[in-house]
Symmetry: C2
Subunit: 507 residues, 2 copies
Amino acid sequence: MKTLQDLKPLIEYLQEIQHLSSAISIFHWDQETYMPPGAGQARAQQLSSLGGLAHDKSVGPEMQRLLSQWVDLKSGEIKGEWDEAPQALLREVWRDYDKATKLPSEYVRRFAKASSISEQVWVEARKKSDFPLFMPHLKTMVDLKKEEIGYIGYKDSPYDALLDAYEPGMTVAQLVPLFAALKQELVPLLEKIVHSPVQPKDDFLRHSYVPEKQLAFGHQVLEAMGFNFNTGRQDLSAHPFTTSFHPTDVRITTRVDEHDLLSSLFSSIHEGGHALYDQGLQADLYGTPLGEARSLGVHESQSRLWENGIGRSKPFWGHFYPILQKTFPEGLRGVDPETFYAAVNTVRPSLIRVEADELTYNLHIMVRFEIERALIEENLPVEELPSLWNEKMGQYLGVVPDSDAHGVLQDIHWSGGAIGYFPTYTLGNLYSVQFLNQAKKEMPGLEGEIAKGNLLPLKKWLNEKIHRWGKQYPTDELVRRVTGEPLNPTYFIQYLKEKFGPIYRVT
Amino acid sequence: MKTLQDLKPLIEYLQEIQHLSSAISIFHWDQETYMPPGAGQARAQQLSSLGGLAHDKSVGPEMQRLLSQWVDLKSGEIKGEWDEAPQALLREVWRDYDKATKLPSEYVRRFAKASSISEQVWVEARKKSDFPLFMPHLKTMVDLKKEEIGYIGYKDSPYDALLDAYEPGMTVAQLVPLFAALKQELVPLLEKIVHSPVQPKDDFLRHSYVPEKQLAFGHQVLEAMGFNFNTGRQDLSAHPFTTSFHPTDVRITTRVDEHDLLSSLFSSIHEGGHALYDQGLQADLYGTPLGEARSLGVHESQSRLWENGIGRSKPFWGHFYPILQKTFPEGLRGVDPETFYAAVNTVRPSLIRVEADELTYNLHIMVRFEIERALIEENLPVEELPSLWNEKMGQYLGVVPDSDAHGVLQDIHWSGGAIGYFPTYTLGNLYSVQFLNQAKKEMPGLEGEIAKGNLLPLKKWLNEKIHRWGKQYPTDELVRRVTGEPLNPTYFIQYLKEKFGPIYRVT
């Protein structure tokens, strides 16, 4: 049986590529946090050049030489007898290699440059709510992704080729019934909630809350979660995100609004959940699939588990509400814990995905998923996006954007060519509840610990069960290993009913 | 006659390498500004890997193929007839290529990793004033530089091989008489100043000055100098520095001390001078020698020209002192412009180079130059550095460090292997005065403009005369083109006498 030790030269080569990827990541992080505005064009060239270089190395002769010793490059068949971990490593490296060889290096450079410029124009366009300014860049990105589908190929839907990059193995054929089942339950539940005579009072969330104190409180929660500030940091950016240059250098960002007590806090907890995953990866295997996050859906499960499963739970606020109230005695004067808990769990159809509650969030995703399929499967012209967006928002959420900034321009994803990404958010929601249920089952005292502010047992459980495995198991196998069964949306539906039933007095 | 257009493929290849170098620069910048402390080991690996990659590309088969079309790779002889600019480009590219081919790629990686770790240990050692902690790393760096000399070779002194990396063409044989001439004039002048009965009052500089206001004033001065904040920024770091990822992305850092009014201000002006050079390089030729700074000495001439020639001059403070006094009405209460001007020009032998005045600064450099020569030419053991340092400080400046943090550990340079770098500071001082004299000669109204706060004519002159030329001319030719004569230390000596004579009433 061959072991990881036998793969040392390959691992070292993968880590060289990883250093290039980390350079790309720091350029991106910098672009969103500290880059001077006039550096945009140069940054686009830098990203394009490094992206092309990383791509060249990942398909070049040295990669072929190293990989072909152990894998048939055509079929992906692994030669010889291997331990489980190196076998998985070879499986995943070949998968990436096979995909990357399909993309011409010229395309990779062209894409990197176009997406960097497009992202910068999107920032401008969103600021001015100017869709026509962004439109030609969006068209370029869609065309580039279609070109990519042409290189990669697909079986059933061209959209599968894109989806697979974010959620390996997932297909439109699997998603459609999953989303239908969800819609069938969520829409009537939302209906009941919207029309319930019981509506949480939450106007106090918009009092004045000093930004510095908000950030300090978020910091405190991140520390309780086990986010390691010795190997990570938090900065400000227009759109919160998590990035990692190594498990010992994981960075999150947030934005803060004086008149919104929850926005910065929940973005911190959300990105903190992502960051715990990245900090929990195996450092010595970083750059190899065994030291990489399983999929975006699993990544999102970690952020949503912390943001919603913990951050919007009763035990969590049992400990943290008194601290928050002490931090903001004026803003929260007279607000009792029950009122605060209900306010944190307000369900209200709204325009902005990242500010949506747990229930309507998935309807935002459905709007995007359907538009993406129309763009890719039916060649919908990008000109029609704003009206289609507004139409679907009215249909599923009963609200229509007053401007494109609050509509079709709100998300960064499409500007960087990330089409096929949105469904992973809903998958993340489903995984998160299934994982958290299992954690509670295995640790009956967990909620008691959380109520004491002790979040570390949960973090440790996630480290052990999910983070440390990287991509060793395919997603469906990982879910089965952790929870004993495949992805099952009924946990999520049940969770929503059990949470919102009492708050809104609906059944 | 062939033109730059003929070199397009080479230029594009050089720019690809530049993008790697820019990635290295941003990793360095980040290491000094925002990197989480626990990321040091990973950062060292990233820097090592990218440094090796950039080196591989700059000596690899593609480089050879491109360059050998126009240059004999053995002799450096340029084939065919070329315009002045492409001829210079080929001359400099071959020079870099020839040097780089002498270094094994394995050595480059080893050096990058060792220097990154050594720099991090130095930070720790300086903080604790613990020379023994740093010593093994310093020994490694010295050994690595000696190994490098072995690869590069030299004619007269092994030290020349190192010096040439920072100040191409400069040699120990040229420096020794230059420094001797300087010492002959400076030591008696310092003697007179120290014993003069007239000593500026400067205790008010150590009153309390709110850091934020200090930074805002520095920002205002940088704007007046023409530093472009749209294509640059300023951050905080332990040791002020300037770095550039492109002429549209130039970054400076400073540190600020509530009880030192001048430290942050003059570091801002100093780094601002460097930054104007970097912002003034030709963006379309960035990554080629024509879009690169001529030498460290010329770079330093720009920072010192602004810091001392302008920032410590009467016309400058004629405009800025009233503003500063309005910013700090309490701290500067009752301090008249004459008193302030004298305080800004206090000469006082002290321990720290970066805080030294214009006169004693060069004595600090001589201490380092002599120690470096002893390390390289005479194999002085690093164990003996602290005592030799203290001995020389006593000899030249009449002061002896109370701790290694204020002595041999104060500078970052040796920790990163930058041996042979220090002499460029004194060269910069000499060039700066010679350049500024010429600017005043060509623009008789210059001092009048400066007294009105209009610093832009000088910036424009420097852009035109120095920045835009990159490495088109060798340093001695550049100096001759700008000032009509070769480097001449008498300008500097005369400048010091004319400035300090009246302040200290010495002749």
